[in-house]
């Protein structure tokens, strides 16, 4: 079941990557629904799956379940497995009931799960059929968030890739437009929009938009910036429609954010002097805010277990701007192109691992004894009980951490567990 291969990364320093297979302690892509439904205010996510899928969403969403959330599970039962025709009828019945109950829904995502994919329930066809029935009132789309196909944040990738064909075509002779790709908290998105406006880049859209009905246009003149490192399929879909990716560091910390904004500024011909003037205040604030955590973090060794694909950019931020020493940086999937510059900025000797064999990786953590281990909630308390300080990874996906104004908060997320360890006398 396991293979270990050392292959060179095509980054500047050609750091070898340890590729492993085995037990993975990660979420499936369904979990993406938890933050995607907050972002897209007119969308509903209907998972077609088992009781396990419903239980996962409930466990991951915690208390949010009760605020009349815009997601639910159509739980397959014994009789649904008997014949596929019946399954489609059942799905139609549930969608009809759902849309009657929530007439405000403009886009309904049918989200595939492991069980629905293993029985080969054709949700794509179901979505087309239901879409025709409910047009123009409600758009019905489909993507897979199953564990057999997607890991955690890849659920967002699958969802956004489904939206790309729905984006209107940009007028052929229109001026270049900029697209920010990846669901960001509204406050972060607003900050970026203000900065782009000050830079003089005015035609800026986001994918996803806050309302699926207001998707931005895309075409050959579209330039896009990835705000998140886990958007491989979405990038491909955008390129199919002629858009061009701007290569940049991901916008974490003062340096990452500067680089990310500069990529857009250069592409749109913004005067470098003007660029420096516009970003200087934010950049200085970010550096000052980071300073609060520096003393706690400098020289500390950190290991990331694979979770979200944010690991490589975050390790770059922590090592370059806070002086931390990455020991092992695990990622569920390493997109060679999108992270090439990030990988090149990691200190030589950083162990980069892709995939997971959980028990072997934990053996390495115990041998390395890093000062801080970033890991999932299933591992955090057990590692703490072994005397290892941890930072639970899922918070990095739910909290605002991108951009200048959040750089201090991001550093604090890593400094806090270490400070707490020092405070407690029990």
């Amino acid at each position: 079941m396991t293979t270990e291969v050392l292959i060179p990364v095509q980054g500047a320093d050609c750091a070898p990557v340890l590729r492993e297979r085995g037990q993975r302690e990660v979420f499936c892509g369904l979990t993406g629904i938890i933050w995607l439904h907050r972002k897209m205010q007119d969308a509903f996510f209907l998972v077609v799956g088992s009781r396990t899928c419903a239980h996962l969403l409930q466990s991951a969403a915690g208390v949010m379940i009760f605020a009349e959330p815009r997601f639910a599970t159509a739980i397959m039962e014994e009789r649904d497995l008997a014949g596929l025709v019946d399954c489609h009828d059942e799905l139609d019945r549930i969608v009809e009931r759902l849309l009657k109950r929530r007439p405000d829904i403009r886009t309904l995502f049918l989200v595939g799960s492991c069980p629905s994919e293993v029985i080969k329930l054709d949700l794509h066809k179901a979505a087309q059929r239901l879409d025709a029935l409910n047009a123009p009132q409600t758009r019905i789309l489909n993507y897979s968030g199953s564990g057999i196909e997607t890991t955690f944040t890849e659920g967002e990738d699958a969802c956004l890739a489904t939206l790309v064909p729905e984006m209107p075509a940009a007028n052929g002779d229109a001026a270049p437009n900029l697209l920010i790709v990846g669901a960001l908290p509204d406050i972060v998105e607003d900050q970026f929009m203000r900065l782009f406006a000050e830079l003089g880049i005015t035609n800026v859209g986001s994918l996803p938009a806050r309302k699926v009905a207001d998707l931005p246009a895309v075409g050959p003149q579209t330039l896009y910036l990835l705000a998140q490192p886990f958007l491989g399929a979405t990038a491909l879909a955008l390129e199919d429609r002629g858009a061009t990716r701007l290569d940049a560091l991901f916008p974490f910390g003062a340096e990452g954010t500067t680089d990310w904004l500069r990529a857009a500024a250069e592409a749109f011909g913004v005067d470098p002097m003007h660029f420096n003037r516009v970003i200087a205040p934010g950049r200085e604030r970010a550096k000052r805010a980071i300073e609060h955590s520096r003393e706690r973090l400098t020289g500390k060794r950190i290991t990331f277990l694979p979770d979200s694909q944010l690991e490589v950019p975050l390790a770059r931020f922590l090592s370059n701007e806070l002086g931390m020493i990455p020991v092992e940086v695990g990622t569920p999937y390493l997109h060679r192109d999108h992270t090439a510059r990030e990988v090149a900025l990691l200190p030589a000797g950083t162990r980069i691992s892709e995939g997971q064999h959980l028990d072997r990786q934990l053996d390495r953590v115990r041998a390395d004894r890093p000062d801080l281990t970033v890991c999932g909630l299933g591992l955090a308390n057990p590692l703490e009980a072994e005397g290892l300080s941890t930072k639970w990874a899922i918070e990095l996906v739910f909290s605002p951490i991108h951009g200048f104004e959040q750089a201090g908060d991001l550093a604090e997320l890593f400094a806090r567990p270490l400070r707490r360890r020092d405070i407690l006398k029990v």
């Binding site: 396990t52 996962l56 057999i148």
Partner: protein
């Protein structure tokens, strides 16, 4: 298909995990896709366990399907056995693996492992978590128990019992066990084995050495206890000692089976609950309408306490686990209510709204329903969130459990004296609807016109009761005059819903088209108790 936002129970393999995690020296290899490891965090976060559950997942992915998932499974089994060296191994499939039909049982048996293998067939598309836990425990017992072992002759030794049922992620299982052990200590009865919680496969082998079994939680332990009864002739005590009376009956039953005098355990005067309940401040609890929902065992026990030990009126009773529908129906008949057997939380919400209780006893879900409806609530059953795995000792069973129950059910209610004062001063500006709760800092401007609909967010609870959707008179119900409506507003919010309902029922019963002040007070007189 069933549309669900919230489920009372997880899938059956989570029940199997609860059993495996409770035990020592047991390991569970679960054939499951990437992502099913989410269930680990129920144990490490909600129950705050310091160890990973002893579960290895095969983590198959799309590219594995159709070629080597069976090999993947066998490799995972081999590695798990080498690494963890378990005394026994459980193998099974999660919902997705059930569909790919790899037969974990056959695959594991073909491997000639150095430990016993317990294959689990858990039909994920029919059954749920509690059933999964019961079935798993039953299969473990069936597979491992030494069928030839019998209790030693009684001369010169203490009676010996097994305690069956407590698991990981069980509501107050840790502390209930302490209370049951306390009772057994007082009776001079020794414990042979507690299972699954804390038991190793070696302990399970020796279950037959006990004189009889105590089934703490029938949801999990009953299946195994029935098999032990049939196979080893081991009788069982199935009285669940939740509540003062039930605890006394439990002591008597245990003492009878053990052939000892129940007096030492019955003489335990640690129970303050009977006196607390008789003290005059509890008079106001009399006839409070209570709605009870949870797992069958806790719901039935709660109904008895509510009715016989606190003097409440049970206005609704139900459970989400169909396996215990019969017990709950029988109990509901005793209180003259219709049993609600459902796992649809929307149906529970409707039933609670219709019953207009003054107190809701339920699960985490009912806590949220009650919050929405502005009703006091206490938690009596799983599923529960992290705060109901408390650091302090808080059993439900035994005499101390009764103390805990008294406190936790009565605190959400407005205590008698407080309620009396509220009624006395209901027109006082500080107690009016616009004043808000006295302990909350006032941050929002008040609406100038008191006749406006309630908009004070400090009274969100009350507001929910007063929104048109919940209390607008039903079709054909008499209309309220402005004057009567204003008078109704003066009634404290926590009894206002009931007052409105009673008045409307009274008006329609007596054929009045309009509800004026006189109707309001006629109804009050009619319903006076």
């Amino acid at each position: 298909m069933q549309l669900a936002v919230w489920t009372y129970e997880g899938p059956p393999h989570v029940g199997a995990m609860r059993v495996a995690t409770a035990m020592e020296g047991m390991h569970y290899v679960l054939h499951a896709p990437q992502g099913d490891t989410y269930a680990d965090l129920l144990f490490t976060m909600i129950e705050r366990r310091a160890k990973r559950p002893p579960v290895t997942y095969t983590t198959f992915q799309a590219r594995d399907l159709g070629k080597d998932t069976a090999t993947l499974f066998q490799d995972a089994v081999r590695e798990a056995v080498d690494r963890f060296k378990p005394q026994a191994l459980m193998v099974g499939a999660s919902c997705t693996a059930e569909l790919i039909q790899d037969d974990p049982a056959g695959l594991a048996e073909a491997m000639d492992l150095p430990c016993p293998v317990i294959p689990l067939e858990l039909p994920s598309y029919q059954r749920k978590e509690n059933w999964g836990a019961a079935e798993t425990f039953y299969q473990i017992v069936r597979k491992l128990v030494d069928k030839d072992l019998r209790p030693a002759p009684r001369e010169g030794r203490q009676p010996l019992v097994n305690i069956l049922g407590p698991t990981a992620l069980g509501f107050r299982h840790r502390d209930d066990l302490v209370e049951v052990r306390k009772i057994l200590d007082a009776l001079g009865i020794a414990v042979n084995c507690v299972a699954p919680l804390g038991a190793s496969p070696a302990d399970i082998i020796r279950l037959g050495a006990a004189d009889f079994n105590i089934v703490m939680y029938p949801e999990i332990g009953d299946e195994a206890s029935r098999w032990l009864e049939r196979t080893l002739n081991q009788p069982a005590v199935r009285i669940v000692p939740i509540g003062v009376s039930a605890t006394r009956e439990f002591i008597a039953a245990v003492a009878t089976l053990a052939g000892v005098d129940p007096a030492p355990a019955l003489a335990d005067n640690a129970s303050r609950m009977p006196w607390w309940s008789r003290s005059v401040d509890s008079t106001y609890l009399t006839g409070k309408r209570v709605f009870i929902f949870g797992d069958g065992t806790h719901a039935v026990a709660a109904a008895r306490i509510a009715s016989e030990e606190l003097g409440f009126e049970v206005c609704g009773l139900g459970c989400y686990n169909r396996e215990f529908a019969r017990d709950v129906r029988a109990a509901a008949a005793r209180y003259g209510v219709e049993a609600l057997i459902t796992d649809d939380h929307l149906a529970v919400e409707d039933a609670i709204a219709a019953a207009t209780p003054e107190l809701v006893l339920g699960t985490q879900m009912e806590r949220h329903i009650a919050k929405r409806l502005g009703l006091p609530c206490a938690v009596i059953s799983s599923p529960v969130h992290v705060q109901d795995f408390p650091a302090r000792h808080s059993p439900q069973m035994g005499f101390e459990g009764a103390n805990v129950i008294f406190d936790s059910w009565v605190h959400p209610l407005v205590m008698g004296l407080e309620e009396h004062l509220l009624t006395m001063f209901r027109d006082d500006f500080e107690f009016s609807d616009d004043a808000g709760a006295s302990h909350l800092h006032r941050t929002l401007p008040k609406t100038a016109d008191a006749a406006q609909p309630v908009e004070d967010t400090a009274l969100v609870a009350a507001q929910d009761l007063d929104t048109p959707s919940t209390i607008q008179p039903a079709q054909g119900t008499a209309a309220w005059t402005t004057e009567a409506e204003r008078e109704l507003k003066k009634i404290p919010f926590f009894v206002r819903g009931k007052a409105r309902r009673n008045t409307e029922n009274f008006a329609s019963a007596s054929g009045r088209a309009e509800i004026d002040l006189a109707t309001l007070y006629d109804a009050k007189a009619h319903y006076a108790r």
